[in-house]
């Protein structure tokens, strides 16, 4: 019994991280980030490929997206091209991913330590996340939630297709981050599951500090509350969006790296994992971080139990439980006027 709870909490911690990222992105950009699942698979499979000594296609994708983002920046600023702005755009969009690409191809045959592979995978996916916002969502920032959602589905389709192209239809596993294990009564804690707990807690605290204390965190919160107001006090809302996507992609990639030693990941596994994070986020009302984290843990535990007792119906049980929760939240919510568009 207890090991099911333990298993559930390990999965739940991952869902919690993803749920937090979804809440963050939605609050700042109004995008329901369906490609979050792709960040998970890209992170996991990039890491696994690097460890296996294969060149991940994601590094090239980051470079290609960077060039496209540079073109977008040039086009958007075509009326007032200044050398400094162009140089900055060139550095961020072309030179940086170029260095990462060069570094990746240099290191890939040389079997660097696990930490280096983790760092490379995180940087690659982070770049993809930032460029994804620049290319797909920044030009749509003024449109309705519905249009953003459809664009989000479009990105998901494209990225999932690219995932198949890069990593093939075969599943992959990566090496564990830590090989130690400890026993406590009837429970056995592997180094990996301890890493999952530790990193989840560390990330939640880091996010909390970031939003509470740093200027960028406050700028993000301001953008979330009122875009126009934030712009009027000098916050670049496009930068806020890029930071939100940066955080979301790093969180997604990290989640992937954390689970790929435990379960085999396929190019399309991320979607279902992301969806569960999404359910947690919805239960949290897309606004509350603590509620989202708690809902995620609950989903993890329910899933662990239902996969043990009725594995065929695992997904159905998780999704069906959603409807009463939705109803309860909807009825409890005050009848506020929704100003859409």
């Amino acid at each position: 019994m207890l090991f099911l709870v333990q298993d559930g909490i390990t999965n739940g911690a991952i869902y919690a991280l993803l749920g937090l990222a979804l809440v963050l992105v939605f609050a700042v950009t109004r995008v329901i980030l369906i490609p979050q699942g792709e960040f998970v698979t890209y992170g996991a499979l990039t890491y696994a490929s690097l460890c296996a000594g294969q060149m991940p296609g994601t590094a090239k994708l980051a470079f290609a997206m960077g060039i496209a983002a540079f073109a977008f920046d040039l086009f958007a600023g075509r009326r007032a091209l200044r050398l400094r702005a162009v140089a900055r755009a060139l550095t961020v969009n072309v030179i940086l991913p170029g260095i990462v690409l060069a570094l990746t191809s240099f290191l890939v045959d040389r079997h660097p330590p696990v930490v280096v592979n983790v760092a490379l995978a995180l940087v690659i996916v982070a770049l993809i996340g930032v460029f994804l916002y620049r290319l797909a969502f920044q030009p749509l920032a003024h449109t309705s939630v519905l249009v953003l959602l459809i664009a989000s589905v479009g990105c998901h389709l494209a990225m999932q297709g690219l995932g198949l192209l890069f990593f093939g239809a075969e599943g992959q596993r990566g090496p564990a981050l830590a090989d130690t294990a400890a026993t406590l009564g009837p429970l056995r804690f592997t180094g990996q599951s301890i890493a999952v707990y530790a990193l989840t807690i560390a990330f939640i605290i880091a996010l909390w500090l970031f939003f509470g204390l740093s200027v960028y965190g406050k700028a993000l919160r301001a953008t979330a509350v009122n875009r126009l107001g934030a712009r009027l006090v000098g916050i670049r809302t496009s930068l806020s969006g890029q930071i939100a996507f940066l955080l979301a992609s790093v969180i997604g990639a990290l989640s992937g790296i954390l689970i790929v030693p435990i379960t085999t990941l396929y190019y399309d596994t991320g979607f279902l994992i992301g969806l569960k994070g999404f359910i947690a986020a919805i239960i949290g009302g897309l606004v509350s971080y603590p509620l989202t984290a708690m809902a995620a843990l609950l989903i993890g535990i329910i899933e662990a139990f239902s996969s043990f007792y009725a594995s065929n119906f695992k997904e159905v049980i998780v999704f069906t439980l959603l409807i009463p929760v939705l109803l309860a939240r909807s009825l409890a919510a005050p009848a506020v006027e929704e100003e859409k568009d």
């Binding site: 290319l135 459809i150 589905v153 479009g154 998901h156 192209l165 069906t320 959603l322 909807s330």
Partner: protein, 589 residues
């Protein structure tokens, strides 16, 4: 019939296409598929684009339509024409049951709820024995008229596109009516619509059913087109794709659904058949390109392709010219003439620990203009919301014509002859001034959804529009009648709100800061109008910050401060009241 000329031309073009020489059968099949998707997308346009209710579950209703006819024709040998009403009925009833639960979900819960039951129904289709489980049902008979069997794609083509055209006409008729205006007001929030008697949950359920029945019709046609059904095309994937179609085409426009279906179906077909040839079939290349093109298309046309195309077409919507000779009957009211019209007795409203309105009492007599003034946060708008039923009072009583109100919903308050405007303007920006104002007369018409679809509502409709036009002329905005309300200045929009309130044939007009944003001349004209209304027998209760305006106009003034009434009296008395001066200017030096 002139306004329907473009539809007629379109119908003729579509009828001619199969007769073109060298028309490849492949393209006819494609057109059939476009028509089937267009039907579902058209329902989504009404549901999502116009009504603001995002649904991922439409594919399940297609499934209801398809499986109903599949079972009835194969297991019971019924004629397909007999199963048509059955298919529509089953989708409609499913929509009522699901809708009763789902449309109450608010915000993001709604789309998620539709995903949830969409998945659930898909699962159900693939598990039920009498629906053939995952294999589905095959050998469905074709549609037939007499001896003509619609076996090949070229003949069922006519059935599909006739259905599309009829559905489009009925949907457009519905939108251009009393019920349609109530639906179009849904997306911009429900408070304003409810203040004029619109039962918003009913309107939501109505569009939900309409969309489901169109999806069921598509399913019925699909079953007799493919002559076999299985669960795959009714899953979540298809549900998302229908939403794509609506958004790409233009979610706010009936023809956007048709155009979107054409774009998405053709795009997918072209990508699937040509990309592998070009690039030697690597992976799911078509899905990558499809995703990227979708995002690009949205960036180029965020509100869909249809509005871009429509601006190129030579057809312009002709402005409505209501016939001024038509008269609309006033609402029958019970109650006395003269005396106290509105009595507020110790009304109290607490939000948690904050007392927004603290035992406030005042009254409004017949033929009187009363102003409610006070510094910001004094509780004026909350008092308004208590009177109109938007908020329920914590304690105290409000009576109209001596009859005590027991927390009635806004729809009941307006029936008593109380119409209001809003501090933050609540108009539907993409509807014309005329249409916005006509919402005010919602309770004075009676035509329902069905009569609107079949244009049996025209007498009723003409009277409503005539009344709206009359009230617009009365407030001096006749010139702007056909402009979208969102294009007017804020001051003018406030005046439009007054015209809308007048359309409800009120005995008491509640105006929340009507003069804000008006120029001096406009304020004077507004004051003139209000005096004229009072002399005609109407009472006015207004919240206003412009003291010059209030002092000139009001017969009596009630002053609130921090939720409590601190003074009441004639303008002259209020001007010299020390309490009032203290509240506005701080303690006297």
């Amino acid at each position: 019939m002139r306004e329907r000329l473009p539809v007629l031309i379109f119908a003729l073009v579509m009828a001619a296409i199969p007769h073109l020489p060298d028309m490849p059968p492949f393209w006819i099949v494609l057109l059939d598929n476009i028509g089937l998707s267009a039907l579902v997308a058209m329902g989504l346009v009404l549901l999502t684009g116009v009504g603001g209710l995002t649904s991922f579950g439409q594919a399940a209703f297609v499934g209801f339509g398809a499986y109903t006819t599949a079972v009835l024709t194969t297991a019971y040998g019924l004629s397909p024409w007999l199963t048509l009403p059955a298919s529509l009925l089953v989708s409609g009833i499913a929509a009522v049951l699901l809708g009763l639960v789902t449309v109450r979900l608010s915000g993001h819960y709604l789309p998620l709820g539709t995903i949830a039951w969409g998945l659930g129904l898909f699962y159900l289709f693939s598990k039920l024995e009498f629906l053939g489980r995952n294999d589905g049902i095959s050998r469905i008979p074709p549609l037939a008229i007499g001896s003509l069997k619609m076996l090949d794609p070229g003949t069922i083509y006519y059935a599909i596109w006739a259905a599309v055209l009829i559905a489009a006409l009925l949907t457009m008729n519905l939108l251009d009516s009393r019920t349609g205006r109530a639906i179009r007001a849904l997306r911009r929030g429900h408070i304003a619509a409810e203040a004029f008697g619109v039962q918003t949950p009913r309107s939501k359920l109505l569009v939900f059913i309409h969309a489901a029945v169109l999806a069921g019709l598509s399913g019925w046609l699909y079953a007799h087109f493919q002559r076999a059904v299985n669960p795959t095309p009714f899953g979540a994937q298809a549900g998302i794709e229908y939403l794509f179609i609506a958004v790409v085409g233009g979610a706010g426009y009936v023809w956007g659904g048709v155009l979107g279906a054409a774009i998405v179906v053709v795009l997918k077909e072209v990508l699937q058949s040509y990309l592998p040839l070009l690039l030697h079939g690597e992976g799911q290349l078509e899905i990558i390109v499809f995703g990227i093109l979708l995002v690009a298309l949205l960036q180029l046309a965020p509100s869909g392709v249809w509005p871009l195309l429509a601006s190129l077409l030579p057809f312009k919507p002709n402005a409505k010219r209501p016939d001024p000779s038509l008269k609309l009957h006033g609402l029958a009211r019970t109650g006395s003439e003269g005396g106290v019209l509105l009595q507020v007795d110790k009304a109290r409203k607490q939000f948690g620990g904050v007392i927004a309105v603290n035992d406030v009492s005042f009254d409004v007599q017949a033929r009187e203009i009363v102003a409610l003034i006070g510094p910001n946060g004094a509780g004026k708008s909350t008092t308004f919301n208590l009177i109109t039923g938007v908020l329920t009072a914590t304690s105290g009583a409000i009576s109209v014509n001596g009859k005590k109100l027991r927390n009635p919903p806004p729809q009941e308050v307006v029936k008593l002859g109380i119409a209001r405007t809003f501090q933050h303007v609540k108009l539907v920006p993409d509807m014309t001034v005329l249409e916005n104002v006509a919402i005010g007369a919602h309770l004075r018409g009676s035509a329902g959804a069905l009569s609107s679809m079949f244009r049996l509502d025209r007498v009723d409709e003409a009277k409503l529009l005539a009344e709206a036009a009359r009230q617009i002329a009365r407030v001096g905005l006749a010139e702007q009648m056909d402009q979208p309300a969102g294009s007017l200045s804020l001051g003018q929009q406030r005046i439009v709100e007054i015209a809308r309130a007048l359309c409800a044939d009120p005995v008491l007009l509640l105006l929340d800061e009507p003069a804000a944003g008006l120029r001096h001349m406009e304020k004077q004209r507004l004051a003139g109008l209000l005096r004229q209304l009072r002399d005609g027998g109407m009472s006015v209760l207004l919240v206003e910050h412009d003291m010059g305006f209030v002092m000139d106009l009001a017969d009596r003034i009630v002053v609130l401060d921090f939720g409590t009434k601190i003074a009441e009296g004639t303008p002259a008395a209020i001007k010299t009241n020390p309490e009032v001066i203290k509240a506005y200017l701080g303690a006297a030096a």
